[in-house]
């Protein structure tokens, strides 16, 4: 974090190589975030180019920031949504059905969860995400993937902190409604199996 701040400071005072360091570091995460909004890689590239050229042009008026990451995400999101708006594309946030193979973290008490059960959970989660609105999906992504705090999400999505809480609550409620149904189903099958 301190590193980020120093590099940001150097960039603001006119050091182009510092901007390149920032670009190197945030290219992949920003592209990954942008990919959720649009599957068009060239469009994401345009947005990134626009963002970094603007950063350079406005370097004199850019303020110091507590989090370079949040600053970049917020600016990138704005630039990207603007491009999408101009092209009259609807705001969307994709559900990706690619998942990492559960690695070490998942394995520490494998005894408690079977591979089949994990597949089932994954399928349920995917289905629940599909049911969510794009904004709900985005907030889930920011909270669980980007690991952002409520205040950071609020600033990024240009919401008040209380609306951010509300939006996340609704997203999780969608999850709950969907999953409780399948939970009930599992329970029923278990009961019927017992009968036999």
């Amino acid at each position: 974090m301190q590193d980020d701040k120093d590099i940001w400071e150097a960039f603001r005072s006119g050091d182009e190589s510092s901007l390149q360091i920032i670009f190197d570091k945030y290219y992949a995460p920003l592209f990954n975030y942008g990919h959720r909004f649009s599957a068009d890689d060239h469009l994401i590239e345009d947005a990134l180019q626009d963002l970094f050229v603007k950063l350079w042009k406005n370097r004199d008026s850019i303020k110091d920031t507590n989090s370079v990451k949040n600053y970049l995400y917020k600016s990138f999101r704005r630039v990207l949504l603007r491009i999408l708006e101009v092209q009259q594309r609807k705001y969307s946030f994709a559900v990706l059905d690619e998942w990492s193979e559960p690695g070490g973290e998942m394995a520490y008490d494998q005894t408690m969860i079977s591979r089949e059960r994990l597949e089932e959970i994954r399928g349920n989660l995917l289905a629940a995400l599909e049911k969510m609105t794009p904004r709900q999906r985005e907030i889930i992504h920011l909270r669980y993937y980007e690991e952002m705090e409520y205040e950071e999400i609020a600033a990024l999505m240009q919401l008040s902190v209380s609306s951010t809480y509300k939006l996340l609550y609704k997203a999780i409620d969608t999850l709950r409604q969907y999953l409780s149904k399948t939970d009930l189903l599992i329970l029923l099958t278990a009961v019927s199996l017992k009968k036999i």
Binding site: E16, L19, Q20, F23, D24, Y27, A28, P29, F31, N32, H35, D41, H42, I44, E45, L48, Q49, F52, V53, W56, K57, L96, E98, W99, S100, P102, G103, E105, M106, Y108, M112, I113, R117, L118, I121, R122, L125, I140, H141, Y144, Y145, E147, I172, L175, R176, L179, S180, D183
Partner: protein, 345 residues
């Protein structure tokens, strides 16, 4: 992270999924966190399923692979660097110099503002007007009285004229006053008066028209309307009340007040751009030219100094007056810049 023990008996999978401490444990699992949650799952065996499910959700969401675009990162940076180079060369040509100009302009404006403020403050809230040689100026005072300044003259007064104090004004040179009457009839008070400070005199009036000329230690006061009180304090103190038509001259070197030969109407002729010659000697006319128009005059025919004329001449400019005296007295006028050498032809 400080663990706060909570009651988990009512917790479902979604409740764990939302729980700050639970998320932290799943994502940042250190020994302390693992120990805490293992203890918890032993404590609530019926919650193990829910906990595991929530854990799986969090991990599935968190450990998604980073998207790998088909486009090239380095190529994109090259495009950005190209744009930056273009913007840099433009900046050097236009924006930077402009910014510099703007910066200096702002600095200059700030300095100017500072100077103006200092001047305003140091003048103690006084307002002043002055004229250069050969120019007249009309000044409307806060009470709507009008002062006409002759050339090379100045007035100043306190900016804040309070209604409970006499209106006071200081004069150098020559001015014609048309003072507005502010007193209510028959209820005159000190505060209604208007005071002109000139030389070491104080002239006090109500609503009047009068001319004051203060040149070369001589102060001439000519009253056209109303009443005027001349007051001299200190050594040789006196008070004199003037009636309309009175014209008095005060010599401050002798502290002597004498009635004048010239009449008030003649003394204010300058306000109509005329010079009433009745009662003027040639020397006095030359003095007017020096005082009001800034000439430096040498008269090389001393015999003419006390000669007199009568009539009114136009005085739109010094040339008008010079033309008349040259013709009438048959003079030769040799001009070098502002220096006039006058001799008999």
């Amino acid at each position: 992270m400080e663990y706060q023990h909570r009651d988990y008996t009512q917790y479902t999978a979604t409740a764990f999924f939302e729980d700050e401490q639970f998320i932290h444990h799943v994502l940042k699992w250190d020994d302390e966190a693992i120990a805490y949650w293992q203890q918890l799952s032993a404590l609530y065996p019926d919650k193990r399923n829910a906990m595991e499910e929530a854990r799986a959700w969090i991990l599935l969401l968190n450990k998604q692979p980073v998207y790998k675009p088909a486009t090239d990162k380095l190529q994109l940076w090259e495009k950005i660097a190209g744009d930056i180079a273009v913007s840099n060369s433009r900046e050097q040509r236009y924006y930077r110099p402009l910014k510099l100009v703007a910066k200096w302009t702002a600095a200059a404006a700030a300095v100017l503002l500072f100077i103006v403020m200092i001047r305003e403050l140091s003048s103690h809230g006084e307002k002043s007007y002055s004229t250069t040689f050969g120019k007249h100026e009309q000044v409307v005072l806060p009470d709507e009285s009008v002062v006409t300044l002759n050339g090379n003259s100045s007035i100043y007064y306190s900016r804040s004229w309070k209604s409970d104090k006499p209106r006071e004004i200081w004069l150098n040179g020559e001015a014609y006053f048309e003072v507005k009457h502010v007193a209510i009839k028959n209820r005159w008070q000190q505060s209604d008066s208007f005071q002109v400070h000139v030389s070491d005199l104080a002239l006090t009036v109500l609503g009047t028209k009068f001319n004051v000329r203060n040149r070369r230690n001589i102060t001439e006061i000519s009253l056209l309307e109303g009443r005027l009180r001349i007051e001299k304090n200190g050594p040789g103190a006196f008070v004199k009340i003037l009636k309309p038509g009175d014209a008095f001259a005060y010599d401050s070197s002798k502290q002597l007040l004498q009635e004048m030969e010239r009449k008030p109407q003649a003394n204010k002729a300058w306000t109509a751009n005329e010079l009433d010659l009745d009662g003027y000697t040639l020397q006095e006319i030359l003095d007017v030219l020096e005082d009001n128009y800034g000439y430096n005059i040498t008269l090389e025919a001393p015999a003419l100094a006390q000669k007199r004329l009568s009539g009114t001449v136009p005085a739109n400019s010094a040339e008008d007056i010079l033309f008349v005296i040259r013709k009438v007295f048959n003079l030769k006028i040799n001009q070098k810049a502002d220096h006039l050498i006058i001799s008999q032809n």
